[in-house]
């Protein structure tokens, strides 16, 4: 059974930062259609702040330290909707790993579910509301179903489910966030937060592989 140490988690966060940089304009364009065109900026800014904060962590940082540091850095750099949502997600992930020196493969589903739970708690959205939760909820389910596999495989399964979930948001009317006032007009467009969620999990999966 494998264990993902703090250094690996930091590498994974760095991979997310690189992915957000790459996808910034795409995510802004998605947000431009049904929101305020800044989601890519928020995600890039947030994860580049995370990368910077993690680079300053000592070698003895625990996985909980890594996630808590990421939470604080993301929140303070971003604000917006994504800030509290991802900060809460990371704080819950950190709590799930409390006292551990690494994330065991068997911890991976719980970590993903904890993040999804944090987002649901903070944002009070329900599945089908056309938010990032429509990527995170199926991701958590897929991760749970992949229990027993290596962390990379768990994250890969979650990433696949998140991407499919993001795709389903096209058919939804938004109930939360800026797009909620659009009614019918939001239908046909992917929710930017769901799209970025799939990228975040995919970057984790890639880095852990």
């Amino acid at each position: 059974m494998g264990t993902t140490g703090s250094a690996d988690l930091i590498r994974a966060f760095n991979a997310v930062a690189a992915s957000m940089e790459e996808n910034r304009d795409h995510l802004c364009a998605l947000d431009g259609v049904i929101g305020d065109a800044d989601h890519g900026v928020a995600m890039e800014l947030g994860f580049s702040a995370v990368r910077k904060a993690l680079a300053e962590l000592g070698d003895d940082a625990s996985p909980t330290d890594v996630f808590n540091t990421a939470a604080r850095a993301f929140l303070n750099a971003v604000g917006a909707s994504s800030g509290p949502l991802y900060a809460t997600a990371f704080m819950r992930a950190g709590a799930a790993l409390k006292g551990k020196s690494g994330m065991d493969d068997t911890d991976a589903p719980e970590v993903i579910a904890a993040m999804a739970g944090g987002i649901a708690h903070r944002g009070k959205a329900s599945p089908g509301d056309k938010t990032m939760l429509d990527a995170w909820t199926p991701a958590a389910e897929a991760a749970t179903a992949a229990q027993g596999q290596a962390a990379a495989a768990v994250f890969a399964a979650a990433a696949k489910a998140a991407a499919d979930g993001a795709e389903t948001t096209k058919g939804m009317q938004a109930k939360m966030g800026r797009a909620a006032r659009l009614g019918e007009r939001a239908v046909g467009h992917v929710d930017p937060g769901a799209a970025s969620a799939a990228l975040v999990i995919a970057a984790f999966a890639g880095a852990l592989a």
Partner: protein, 335 residues
């Protein structure tokens, strides 16, 4: 091709703006020592006075930072462009302005702002600062009347914050200030129209597409889609459309007094705003209403977006007194 802006690095725009603001208005404003995104009135805190904290994303200047000063807000928490501030600046604001009588958070009703300010309120509560929250929801284009509490807060902030700030300045209790703030919000109605987009400093890409002869009625102040898109109409037609909607919701009776704000979203010049005001006043007069006071200009902007909004606040004696009360802010003054 990137849009043109007079900026340095896009990601430094907000902090450099705040530097420039503090250099220009250091006599009335300062940054909190614990958060440079918390801008505090030099006047205050006052013992026993409710502290008014406003805030939200940048890009709407003079909203929010310009409305910090004696008689209006005590502090503003400043976010990135079109993004709620995180909890820390809002918490710093609460700490700085608390005079022992509680703190009121007021900001536009957006999911991100609610989450961040609520987190800050929880953190303030742990420090024994009582925080209440009143969301502004004046944008009547953003939801039907039966879901009025889900509406966005836009340019009407100006009146709603002003009333609440004056109530604080009158040393009303937190209960009373909260009541005034809710009352002011309930009586404030805004309709906007957008003609052309703005762009974020970081992307310098137009935040929405619109045809060269189109306008969008009800577009949000971050470029969120509105309620109807159509060919550009004349000033009178646009204003009539806005006033029809405002008057039909406002349920005013002949003889009622109102305050009016004709606001530019950014690049629409005063000439156009005053042409609109001419029609606004004609429509109010037709409805038998009396205009107590009118403001015209850039009060709640969306960077360089082209477009305008009309806000009407239905006054009563209390609101009239509060709106008239002097205030002294960096970018706004009543004497």
């Amino acid at each position: 091709m990137k849009t043109k802006k007079i900026i340095n690095a896009g990601e430094d725009a907000v902090d450099e703006m705040l530097d420039g603001i503090l250099l220009a208005h250091g006599d009335t404003l300062r940054a909190s020592a614990s958060s440079h995104r918390a801008i505090i009135a030099r006047d205050g805190p006052r013992d026993g006075k409710v502290g008014l904290v406003i805030g939200g994303g940048s890009g709407h200047e003079p909203t929010f930072v310009g409305f910090v000063g004696k008689g209006l807000a005590d502090a503003a928490a400043i976010g990135n462009v079109f993004a709620s501030p995180p909890p820390d600046p809002a918490l710093a604001c609460a700490q700085e302005v608390s005079g022992g009588a509680g703190v009121l958070f007021m900001y536009g009703n957006y999911a991100g702002d609610v989450m961040n300010f609520d987190m800050a309120a929880e953190m303030a509560a742990m420090e024994d600062i009582e925080v209440r929250t009143v969301l502004t929801t004046d944008d009547i284009a953003s939801a039907p009347p039966d879901a009025a509490e889900t509406r966005r807060g836009v340019a009407g902030n100006f009146f709603i914050f002003k009333a609440a700030g004056a109530a604080c300045d009158e040393m009303m209790s937190l209960d009373e200030v909260e009541r005034v703030a809710r009352h002011a919000n309930a009586r404030t109605y805004t309709m906007g129209v957008a003609l052309s987009p703005c762009s974020l400093p970081q992307t310098r890409t137009p935040n929405f597409d619109i045809g060269p002869d189109e306008m969008e009625i009800g577009m949000g102040i971050h470029g969120e889609p509105g309620i109807a898109r159509g060919p550009l109409m004349t000033a009178d037609e646009i204003t009539d459309d806005m006033m029809d909607r405002i008057l039909s919701e406002m349920e005013a009776s002949a003889g009622d007094r109102v305050a009016v704000l004709v606001n530019s979203l950014g690049s629409t010049p005063l000439m156009e705003l005053y042409i609109m005001n001419r029609r606004v006043q004609a429509r109010l007069a037709d409805a038998g209403l009396t205009t107590h006071a009118t403001w015209v200009g850039n009060y709640c902007t969306s960077l360089e977006m082209a477009g305008a909004s009309v806000t009407v606040m239905r006054l009563d004696d209390e609101l009239t007194r509060l709106i008239d009360r002097p205030c002294h802010c960096a970018m706004f003054r009543i004497v």
